[in-house]
């Protein structure tokens, strides 16, 4: 159980294994974001071999907020996401410099325990990436890997997250069927469940809806909204309407001479109604990008 509760989490609930935190729907009229800084990036730059992908990003993200990263393709949004759980380590020739903290944890420090970091930071990709085995095993594998082996715990954790993503009634009779047989939208929800089963502090979503049909896209979007307040969410999206619907904060990226940077960051309403930077305004009104 010790493994399940990494030292750097702010509000661990001792004694509760992953996936078993009580699920209380967040009242929608309350203020969403606790004014507590969760992620702090300072002068973050990312380079691939000789190409500078992202330059000098500085921003602070509050706990429990939904932050949408918007901007044209190729301006380093995905790279930024991947630096948060150090997936950038897996890309040959990728260099990350600057400061990146999650609470007190220095994400970029060489001594950071990557497996624990990645346990606490969930990530969803553009295409659903279910593993080629059963639904049950998809959810149990990460739990077992992080030290939960008890059958009943595994099962209730699985039921819990599947309820949470609204899949339980659709799949409860075929938990042992291959996950690949699910529809695209169901697969993406399963991926979300798989990330949530580890009770992450931070959820990174890389265009989670862009490969889905409008109906499933709507379901996933509602799900993301329902997580507000419980998990810090950073979502890359090209769908401005979606960003407007769900985001508390917007980070607007633009690429200058091939390398991306953060142009403007602030509360969603302010960015959409009263952008400071002219590029932001142009992008939002659809004249650029």
């Amino acid at each position: 159980m010790d493994i399940m509760q990494p030292t750097f989490r702010i509000n661990p609930e001792p004694g509760k294994p992953a996936g078993l935190r009580p699920w209380v729907p967040y009242p929608s009229d309350e203020l969403c974001c606790e004014p507590v800084t969760h992620i702090r990036a300072k002068n973050l730059s990312i380079a691939y071999q000789d190409h500078q992908a992202l330059r000098n990003v500085t921003l602070e993200i509050n706990r429990g907020c939904i932050t949408a990263l918007v901007g044209p393709s190729g301006c380093g949004k995905t790279s930024f996401l991947m630096s948060l759980n150090r997936l950038t380590d897996l890309i040959p020739g990728c260099q990350v410099s600057g400061n990146l903290h999650m609470n007190e944890l220095d994400i970029l420090a060489p001594t950071t325990d990557l497996l624990q970091l990645r346990r606490a930071v969930g990530m969803i990709f553009q295409k659903p990436t279910v593993f080629p085995f059963s639904i049950r095993k998809n959810l149990e594998l990460p739990l077992r890997e992080h030290g939960t082996h008890h059958r009943t715990v595994l099962h209730s954790a699985m039921e819990n997250v599947l309820q949470q993503v609204g899949l339980w009634h659709e799949v409860k009779d075929r938990l042992d069927h291959p996950a690949q047989a699910l529809s695209g939208g169901q697969q993406q929800r399963l991926c979300l469940a798989r990330a949530l089963v580890l009770s992450p502090d931070l959820l990174l979503l890389d265009e989670p809806c862009s490969a889905l049909d409008p109906l499933s896209s709507g379901i996933v979007e509602d799900l993301i909204v329902s997580l507000r307040g419980h998990v810090t969410i950073m979502i890359v999206t090209h769908n401005l309407a979606q960003a407007r619907r769900i985001a508390d904060h917007i980070a607007f990226f633009w690429s200058f001479e091939g390398s991306g940077t953060l142009v403007e960051y602030g509360p969603a309403q302010a960015i959409f109604e009263n952008p400071i930077h002219e590029l932001t305004g142009a992008y939002i009104s659809g004249t650029r990008g």
């Binding site: 380590d89 897996l90 890309i91 040959p92 060489p110 001594t111 950071t112 325990d113 990557l114 497996l115």
Partner: protein, 295 residues
């Protein structure tokens, strides 16, 4: 490509254990070539020292028991048999690949391909046996003695044709479909499309197939051993029996000792050098080919 090796921070001991063992295995496998060359060299060293390289070509004949080690006639045997087989097999192999890809109806093409794959899988000793039982008597009736350079060439042709055909077929399948549509849209006939568009673009792939076939023919032992007659002589025409380098090794290795044995290893080393050259040329061509088509 993802490399996990930069992830040196994982505390999991299993990871390190796995990385270590996997690295060891890979190094062993990679070192195998070196090991093979080293051993061949080590075993043929006495020959190089006692006999010397030049005598392999200047000695009057191959009489290892009488200290006479001339390899020239066997080198000729190998070269002629291989060249002949490549000359016969290349057009047939490429034509049947073209037939299979452009002319045959899909069902026939599939069965044809399946059959060629099976043909490629027939053990060489079976080819040799068939040649011995069927081909050699036919040739013998036509032009005695029967076991000869020509029967070797024919058997090798049969053996390398599937290789050439399969590699050519694979490279034909890589021709972008847009290219075919474009040339059809220009109103090319099928043959002129193949001649002017397909063949030039797949040139390298076809050549790779021929080189791989060449390597197989050069290294083939059992089939030529069984049909070529194995007389040590430089053939003066197609119906003379010959002995190839590979057959020589197979025949004499069982009783060879001392310098004789070293001489056989020496010819093995030589064979390996030639084949390695051919194969690496083929691989280089293939890589260049995929590089160009990837662009």
């Amino acid at each position: 490509m993802i490399s996990f090796s930069s992830n040196t921070l994982s505390r999991s001991r299993g990871d390190f254990l796995l990385l270590g063992s996997v690295r060891l295995l890979a190094l062993t496998a990679g070192g195998l070539l070196f090991l093979v060359v080293a051993f061949l060299f080590h075993e043929s060293w006495p020959a190089l020292q006692n006999i010397g390289l030049s005598r392999f070509f200047s000695d009057p004949d191959w009489y290892p028991t009488e200290n006479s080690y001339q390899l020239t006639s066997m080198v000729w045997g190998s070269l002629l048999a291989t060249t002949g087989a490549v000359l016969f097999a290349s057009p047939f192999g490429i034509l049947s690949a073209l037939f299979c890809h452009f002319y045959a109806p899909p069902l026939l093409a599939r069965w044809y391909r399946r059959m060629v794959e099976l043909l490629a899988g027939i053990p060489s000793v079976v080819f040799g046996f068939w040649g011995l039982m069927v081909l050699v008597p036919i040739i013998g009736r036509w032009h005695p003695p029967g076991p000869s350079l020509i029967s070797g060439i024919l058997i090798l042709t049969l053996m390398i044709m599937p290789t050439i055909m399969l590699v050519s077929h694979a490279s034909l399948a890589h021709v972008p479909i847009a290219l075919i549509h474009t040339s059809s849209a220009l109103g090319f006939s099928r043959w002129s499309m193949i001649w002017h568009v397909i063949l030039p673009t797949t040139r390298m792939g076809l050549f790779t197939g021929i080189l791989l076939g060449l390597a197989r023919a050069l290294g083939e032992t059992m089939a030529v051993l069984m049909v070529c007659g194995n007389v040590v002589q430089t053939p003066s025409h197609l119906f003379d029996p010959v002995r190839t380098l590979t057959a020589n090794i197979a025949l004499e290795m069982a009783y060879a000792l001392g310098d004789h044995r070293a001489a056989l290893f020496m010819s093995g080393l030589f064979l390996m050098g030639v084949v390695a050259l051919v194969v690496s040329t083929a691989e280089a061509l293939r890589h260049r080919n995929t590089y160009v088509s990837a662009k």
